[in-house]
């Protein structure tokens, strides 16, 4: 590549030394804080030191990596070695949801939570074999660049940008909420203040140096987050089994959990709400037996998360930064390896935490519960305390079903649950912050690049000078960040479920067009545009309709019995509007008048999987064929592929020049013959 300045850069040449020194320095810092804690420094000071010093390091890297060079700003000069790009992708990828939320979901759902583990790793197989090497060979700056060059310009580019912005914005808001939750707990400031403090940390990393600064900060963040995740798991494994390999030893914890759960059931205890089967039993329905619906939802969620992984632009654009196609392939494997390190520890984390709670909390008198429970009985943004002891039968004893912990605090609270020193809790907070900040950085950059490079430079002003383009990118970064922070601050944690939506939206909008663009030479411009539009609109409308207009959704797709049940549930919602409740009550009062929905035949296509509703997040949410809407991409992805294939059949085949372009992308050697020279970047 012409924009490579070679390996002479002293920073690139000394990467190993720099990051090994950095890792050692961080470990030393943790040990120092542990000593300070023993000497009696208050917990609050330890929390402050962790949060501010780590953010300070990220800011420092961001400032020394500032740049005015376009290729540095957009693709880090294309000289990030495979292994480091793997680490950067790892932290770019692992968000607050992975670090804070996943072990918590596994704690709460048992086997059902493994859908996240499988979905968020298996997607990299698709990235590696279907997309990354070819996008790298194409060799420009953004994912919409590829769509524009392959599918004849601004229409495809524009639709790609719309999908990208929807998915990334939803996702970045959730990250900022995550930053807010951690900062709020450890700095003891209000949620809104916490959100804007976190925002400052995000902006210093990405504003000045673009992709270059974000890449090297993300490597630093990966190192902190993986240390912060592994150390508590190792300590817990030591404590429970005597062997410091949590990933192997949690089998023992699983066995003991099963024995304890059997004991609880034998003693007539009721499980916490939502728990029906044993921790390790797959596909359990509300009655504790096998449920086809649970199995279908499990696999649908895996599918959507995998395909979404392979379509989220902030991940794909990381593979534009490697020096070669060969390195891009190796880099995907390294990315997955670094992600795997955290993901195969998460179930161990959940199992040890659960065992610890079963052994030390369940069955104890409420009067003498350990100190950490009181620390976490603060109110969460969800309206209930993070750890909630509900004495259902008022016997003064914590029964199995009395102990309720919000999944988002399982990881943050586990060090305290296991009686580890506070410095470990601070370390975990620093790790969670690193995870949320790194993902937010990557997403904000993807958003700002889409707006400045794809919309402003490629679609509006092709003659814009470099300095103006970078300036516009920075201003847009700031605007998007403020907008996201404002949304996060005003909507609070209610928005976290949207993370899973981001995957479905990206999957349905972009995946088919990207894959067909490389692998099916006859894909025409019109077909790709229609495919993206159909996938995106179907998924987005399905999500909005089923989530916010659940009753209406049911009146369209469900049978009259199911509509009546949904109306009854709607009338009983505590937070619904008066008009909605009155309307639902009216339906219930005239139950005999209710008719089957206009397309009830479609909703009842599979006899084992009727369309129904669930009450979630304070709303009645409709489910076509019993599928949860977090797996909404399951409809959009196949439709998008089908549309592209069919429209390609009925439109004029792509020109010879376009076929040559596809040939060039497929083969590592040589340059790329663009059909339209104006699609090139200098």
């Amino acid at each position: 590549m012409a924009d490579t300045t070679g390996a002479k850069d002293p920073f690139i040449a000394n990467l190993n030394k720099i990051y090994i020194g950095y890792t050692g320095g961080f470990m030393f810092f943790v040990v120092c804080l542990a000593i300070l804690e023993q000497m009696g420094v208050p917990d609050r000071i330890i929390g402050y030191l962790f949060v501010f010093l780590t953010i300070g390091v990220y800011a420092y890297i961001g400032i020394i990596s500032r740049t005015q060079v376009v290729s540095e700003y957009y693709v880090a000069g294309r000289r990030v070695p495979a292994i480091y790009n793997g680490m950067a992708t790892g932290s770019d990828w692992m968000s607050a949801a992975s670090f804070i939320g996943m072990a918590g979901s596994l704690y709460a759902l048992g086997y059902g939570g493994l859908a996240f583990i499988l979905g968020w790793t298996g997607g990299y197989m698709l990235v590696a074999i279907l997309l990354a090497p070819y996008l790298r060979k194409f060799g420009q700056y953004t994912v919409p660049d590829f769509l524009g060059a392959r599918f004849g310009g601004n229409w495809a580019r524009g639709i790609g940008v719309i999908v990208l912005i929807t998915a990334s914005f939803v996702y970045v808001v959730a990250q900022i909420v995550g930053v807010g939750i951690i900062t709020q707990r450890f700095l003891e400031v209000s949620f809104t203040t916490a959100v804007f403090l976190g925002l400052a940390g995000i902006l210093v990393c990405s504003m000045l140096g673009g992709m270059r600064a974000v890449t090297w900060t993300q490597v630093a963040q990966y190192i902190i987050l993986i240390i912060a995740y592994l150390i508590p798991a190792i300590l817990m494994s030591m404590k429970i089994s005597g062997v410091p390999i949590p990933q192997l030893m949690y089998g023992l914890a699983l066995e003991r959990i099963e024995v304890l759960e059997q004991g609880f059931r034998a003693a007539g205890m009721v499980p916490p709400p939502g728990v029906t089967g044993f921790h390790t039993s797959p596909f359990v329905g509300a009655n504790g037996q096998f449920s086809l619906n649970a199995a279908v939802n499990f696999f649908a969620l895996i599918f959507c998360l995998m395909v979404g992984t392979a379509a989220l632009p902030h991940v794909l654009m990381r593979y534009f930064t490697t020096p070669s196609v060969r390195e891009a392939r190796a880099s995907v494997a390294w990315s997955l390896f670094f992600i795997f390190l955290l993901y195969f520890t998460a179930p161990a984390y959940a199992a040890f935490g659960k065992l610890e709670i079963y052994q030390t909390v369940i069955g104890q008198p409420i009067a003498n519960l350990p100190e950490w429970i009181k620390n976490w009985q603060i109110i969460s943004p969800y309206g209930t305390p993070w750890v909630n002891i509900v004495d259902v039968n008022r016997d003064g004893i914590v029964q199995w079903g009395d102990f309720r912990i919000h999944p988002d605090v399982v990881v943050l609270a586990t060090p305290e649950i296991a009686g580890l020193p506070y410095v470990i809790a601070g370390l975990v907070a620093a790790g969670g912050l690193a995870a949320a900040l790194s993902t937010a950085d990557g997403l904000l950059l993807a958003l700002a690049n889409a707006l400045s490079h794809d919309v402003y430079y490629k679609m509006i002003n092709r003659d814009a000078p470099t300095a103006r383009r970078l300036m516009i990118s920075r201003v847009l970064l700031l605007i998007v960040a403020l907008l996201a922070a404002w949304t996060a601050g005003s909507m609070g944690a209610d928005i976290l479920f949207l993370v899973a939506w981001a995957f479905s939206i990206a999957a349905a909008g972009l995946f088919a067009a990207l894959v067909m663009g490389v692998w099916y030479k006859k894909t025409t411009n019109a077909a790709a545009c229609w495919g993206m539009a159909v996938g995106y609109l179907v998924t987005f409308c399905y999500l909005i309709w089923s989530e916010f207009y659940g009753l209406h959704f049911m009146q369209t797709f469900a049978t009259k019995e199911a509509i009546l049940r949904a109306a009854t549930a709607t009338a009983a919602l505590p937070l619904a509007t008066v008009e909605l409740k009155a309307y639902a009550a009216g339906l219930v009062a005239n139950a005999s008048e209710i008719k089957d929905g206009s397309v009830a035949w479609l909703g009842s296509l599979w006899s084992g999987l009727p369309s129904d509703h669930v009450v979630l997040r304070g709303r009645v949410v409709g489910r076509l064929w019993g599928l949860n809407n977090i797996s909404g991409g399951i409809f959009g992805v196949p439709l998008s592929f089908l549309t592209i294939y069919l429209v390609s059949k009925f439109t004029t085949a792509p020109s010879l020049a376009m076929q040559n372009f596809v040939e060039d992308i497929r083969i590592p050697r040589g340059g790329v013959r663009l059909v339209d020279r104006r699609e090139a970047v200098q």
């Binding site: 086997y111 298996g122 197989m125 190796a330 795997f340 692998w519 040939e663 013959r673 663009l674 020279r677």
Partner: protein
């Protein structure tokens, strides 16, 4: 929407870097590898978990096998397959002489 926007081609690449016949054979072999890895992906990602209930009574180191496959087994398959894929694809590149210039 015009199918092809006109304009002279960029100087960097004006003709194919590789003979079309070789390119065709190369792409065939690459596609075969893609389908193979896609099959591994499908089996490890979905196929084996269909049998989770059947596998769970088998315990290894305390892990019910069905649970273990979803929590660790499939992930190990993913990681190992990807490193193998990168190596195999490089070999195919070199076999057809289409690897990048160093």
């Amino acid at each position: 929407m015009p199918l092809v926007e006109s304009g002279p081609e960029p100087e960097s690449a004006t003709s194919a870097a590789v003979d079309p016949e070789i390119a065709k054979a190369y792409w065939k072999k690459t596609s075969n590898l893609m389908w193979l890895v896609l099959a591994i992906w499908f089996i490890a990602g979905f196929g084996v978990h269909l049998f989770a209930q059947t596998l769970n009574p088998i315990h290894i180191f305390g892990f019910p096998l069905g649970f273990y496959m979803a929590a660790q087994g499939s992930l190990i398959v993913f990681v190992v397959t990807l490193f193998w894929f990168a190596k195999r694809q490089n070999e195919i590149d070199e076999e057809f002489g289409v690897q990048e210039d160093a």
